[in-house]
């Protein structure tokens, strides 16, 4: 585990977007962190891959700061460093595969948004909903198999719990500006087990002090 003297800057837009899981992980890790909202696109070329989010781990010994990017990579790094991903390779991989599936669901959503013609839009909407349904089935089964405690693995807050919460705050709150119907569409598909996970994450002692710019997802689900 990394030293608790570490401090971080998370560079992203002032939006939920792809950064919420990283924000929650930084909060749950109990480390010092701040957020920067770079001027965009002016700051594009100053980022390693020309994109956001970027995580800067500030150096304490005069060496260059450690900088990484790619949202899922930032999440995995924080999760491994602060113990939210297990050290056991198989156990970690079982959690990581969920995040890769989430990436594809989000990607299909954005493809649908970008389609201009009605047939393409409908085609990608169907693909998005189909993969989301697969994901919901996988998530629900894990939650049931773990005793429907609102946790996917074991009895503590895990990376899998956090990235699942991160997905749903995106779809129910963050992405509404791209597609007005998505919130109602997704809410109607959520199983009781997933709703319980959302509440368990939001009220976890490690997370409870985090206030999302999107507000409470629990509240958004009952709205």
């Amino acid at each position: 585990m990394s030293s608790s003297n570490a401090s971080y800057t998370l560079r992203y837009f002032d939006a939920i977007g792809l950064a919420e899981s990283s924000r929650i992980l930084l909060t749950a890790a109990g480390v010092e962190w701040t957020e920067e909202h770079p001027e965009w696109p002016q700051e594009k070329l100053n980022q390693p891959h020309g994109r956001l989010p970027v995580l800067v781990e500030k150096s304490t010994d005069g060496s260059p700061d450690f900088v990484i990017c790619e949202s899922s990579n930032v999440e995995r790094y924080l999760a491994r460093t602060y113990g939210f991903l297990p050290a056991d390779l198989k156990q970690a991989a079982l959690q990581e595969q969920l995040r890769d599936l989430i990436s594809d669901v989000v990607s299909l959503f954005f493809t649908q948004v970008q389609c201009k013609n009605k047939e393409d839009k409908a085609e990608f909407q169907t693909k998005f909903e189909g993969l989301l349904e697969t994901l919901i089935n996988v998530q629900t089964k894990l939650l049931k198999d773990n005793g429907n405690t609102g946790r996917m693995f074991g009895d503590k807050l895990s990376y899998a719990d956090i990235i699942t919460y991160g997905l749903y705050i995106k779809l129910v709150v963050g992405f509404v500006k791209f597609n007005a119907d998505i919130a109602d569409n997704v809410k109607s598909k959520l199983t009781p087990e997933i709703v319980k996970l959302i509440s368990t994450v939001e009220t976890d002692p490690l997370v409870v002090k985090y206030k999302s710019r999107g507000g409470s997802l629990v509240a958004a689900l009952s709205a």
Binding site: P48, H49, E57, I68, R76, Y77, Q114, K116, D120
Partner: protein, 224 residues
């Protein structure tokens, strides 16, 4: 190595390069006992945990363990077989390259399927991202002690992932877009081409090329 000598792997995928080449190369480089299965599709869809391929099946001591999602399978195999650094920072620097490559693949499909005024925008986005990525590969290579490897002087996950990525674009994706290989080749620097061909010559990867062609013949003298 964290895998017992009685462990065998089955990689389930389609009989194409697709998204499984990194997994194939890792299993080969690891000298693991492995075979490939090409499930009837879509008949076998419902029998896969995420209804998708690839799937990795690991069998050991009578137990069976299953993992999904190509990038997770790659990272798992890379860790089991020692191609991923154990230092978390060094690992993250390699993993982000694979994530960037996955973004490029998405951008490729986005520009392929875009219509109307979105098409030129998506093509532009793809080209910008690709050029930026090639520059990043060049930057990492210039800081590497070896010009045949991205990090250190041994074959690493990053090398294998990079090779699989370029093979995907230069050998496979022409089935979707006939000119993509030439477009991508024209973006590569001589140093990157040299890296690709050096990785290909790694002794650990030799068994892979008993089943498919190397890319050496694709790059002629004028590409260097």
């Amino acid at each position: 190595m964290l895998s017992g000598s009685d462990t065998v792997y089955v990689l389930r995928y389609f009989d194409v390069i697709g998204r499984a080449e990194g997994c194939r190369l890792l299993l080969t480089a690891a000298n693991a006992s492995w075979t490939e299965e090409h499930p009837e599709w879509p008949a076998e869809k419902a029998n896969q945990p995420f209804e998708r391929l690839p799937v990795l099946v690991e069998r050991s001591n009578g137990n069976e363990w299953i993992l999904c999602e190509s990038l997770t399978i790659e990272r798992y195999l890379a860790r089991v077989f020692g191609f991923m650094p154990t230092d978390l920072k060094q690992a993250a620097l390699q993993e982000q390259m694979a994530d960037q490559q996955a973004d490029l693949l998405s951008a490729f499909f986005a520009q392929l399927t875009a219509t109307g005024d979105m098409k030129p925008k998506q093509i532009d986005e793809f080209n910008t991202l690709f050029d930026r990525m090639v520059k990043e590969h060049g930057r990492i290579l210039s800081r590497s002690s070896s010009k045949q490897h991205l990090f250190g002087d041994h074959l690493s996950y990053a090398d294998i992932s990079l090779y699989a990525f370029y093979k995907l674009f230069i050998v496979y994706l022409k089935c979707y877009q006939s000119d993509i290989a030439e477009i991508v080749k024209s973006k590569l620097t001589p140093k990157i081409i040299n890296l690709i061909l050096s990785i290909e010559k790694e002794p650990q990867l030799a068994p892979h090329f008993s089943k498919c062609d190397t890319m050496a013949a694709i790059f002629t003298a004028k590409d260097f």
